[in-house]
Amino acid sequence: MNQTVVSYLLQFEPIKKLVLSLSNLLGFNAISIVSFLIFLIVILIVVGFLATVGGLGTYAERKISADMQARIGPNRVGPYGILQFLADGAKMLLKEDIIPTQSDKFLFYVAPMLCIVGVFGTIAVIPFSSGFTILNFNVGLVYLIGISSLVGLGVFLGGYGSNSKWSMLGGMRGASQIISYEIPVVLSSLSIVLLSGGLSFSALIGAQGGWPHEWFIFHNPFTFIGFFILFIGSLAETNRAPFDLPEAESELVSGYHTEFSGMRFGFFALAEYIEVFVVCGLATALFLGGYNVPMHLGGDGLIGQVLQVGSFVSKTFLLYYIVIVTRWTLPRLRVDQLMTMCWKYLIPIAMFNLIMVGLWMWLFDGRSLFTLLFKSASVASGAGH
């Protein structure tokens, strides 16, 4: 059976006692109810956390961009303006819900929901720590890629349903971009699957260690290139600059969500910022060691879990910061440059990487570059004599 957060928590005595006493009280085996309650609480925690990350993401974006452009940024609501996202949220909820009369009402309703469902569907497999993963699905990587493709459909239907030229162009660009850039992302994560020999996040992360030289990004030269391909592809999949063509402000007003207002627009924005967190988490789990802590500090107990969550989240936020800085540094690509970059450069390089990683596995028996160097150095210095 797949390991879940429930099966992790059921190791502990208080939870076992709770199950037993509930079973005695109700007269039947209460394990289903307890696991349902645990799932409910954990999912509420994770959804709340991710929604806060999405909200604070907008704040961080505005603050960092202000810093880079020598402005002040939001500074009125709360200390340093940190409660700005709550004020924005309240504003969006209270705004009039405008639906264009010529739009396709059904698609207009469905599109933001598809986006938000696609993003929140991924939280089931995000590996926060070895115990605190909602579901350690044994095909978790494929599930994450599959469920997050709902976002592309949401973007496209949002553009199509609003019946406006700008939205339509943005939606078409978004869908084609998301479909195209899924290929290099999948190819470069496949090379990691080859190295670790599993599709579940516990297998992918368990094959790495806590120190940077044990991470897959420094495993061999090809995974080093593969990390950047995955990162570029993730940027394009989340419609972030320099690939923000679907919502290019200077050409398309606001792209696929031009006609959306109030909380429907809020859903699109929230989905974008949470998806950035999710893809950064994916890059962390695949290449940067995931939740591994150096020297296995804290063991498997509660302290260890907290340290693991800290390790995962801090690496992910570092990547999040890089994503934001990239947006305010690079200019936007043209559509033809976008497609050329994906199909003529990223996909061939990713394919070459995949083959070379397989070759590396065959030649060096899956040992990392660091191990090989260390071995040869120790042999040269007379180890084993």
């Binding site: 797949n2 044994n138 890629i145 599959g146 199509y160 349903g161 869908a175």
Partner: protein
């Protein structure tokens, strides 16, 4: 109990989505309901313990086929402004004549026969009291793809190559006629 509830939800999604897919007139809406059906089918696979098939259902159908369908509907609608409105095929005058009904009848009979043939084995089988224990299917599928079913695997890759070449030939810019 938990499994049964999830199974019922998935089955409801599949059935309701299927009925709505064939009953709505707007082609784009039908695509969205088809998405619901496919998600329901993926859920059915997952509750029955076929994890890999369920997830591949998500990747292939949700990520690929439905998006392609929506694209195709959008790009082809509006080309024939007299008969078709901007969402597809609402304005088609009559939905059938003698020929189409005959063809549909033949195909319905064929599908019915094959379904009966499939289900005869199912009903004649002894009922399982308990489902076999859950077992991850990825490695099994992988091993059988490169050992027992390697020929089918290779042939399907040749088919995909043919589709790729065909698409390249169709989309190539036409030369000037001489």
């Amino acid at each position: 109990m938990f499994d049964t509830i999830l199974f019922i939800f998935a089955a409801l999604a599949a059935i309701v989505g299927g009925i709505l897919t064939i009953s709505v007139k707007n082609l784009m809406h039908a695509c969205v309901f088809l998405l619901l059906t496919l998600l329901g089918v993926a859920g059915l696979y997952l509750t029955l313990g076929a994890d890999f098939v369920g997830v591949i259902q998500l990747v292939v159908y949700v990520g690929g086929v439905v998006v392609l369908m929506v694209f195709a509907v959008m790009l082809t609608s509006g080309s024939n402004a007299q008969k078709v409105n901007r969402f597809g095929m609402v304005k088609i005058p009559t939905m059938g004549n003698f020929r189409t009904y005959t063809l549909a009848g033949i195909f319905a009979a064929l599908i019915l026969m094959s379904i009966i043939k499939l289900y005869r084995n199912v009903f004649s089988m002894a009922r399982l009291e308990k489902l076999p224990e859950y077992y991850p299917t990825v490695s099994k599928i992988g091993h059988s793809l490169v050992s027992t079913h390697v020929l089918a695997f290779e042939i399907s890759s040749v088919l995909l190559l043919g589709a790729l070449v065909g698409a390249a030939i169709i989309s190539r810019p036409k030369r000037e006629m001489r």
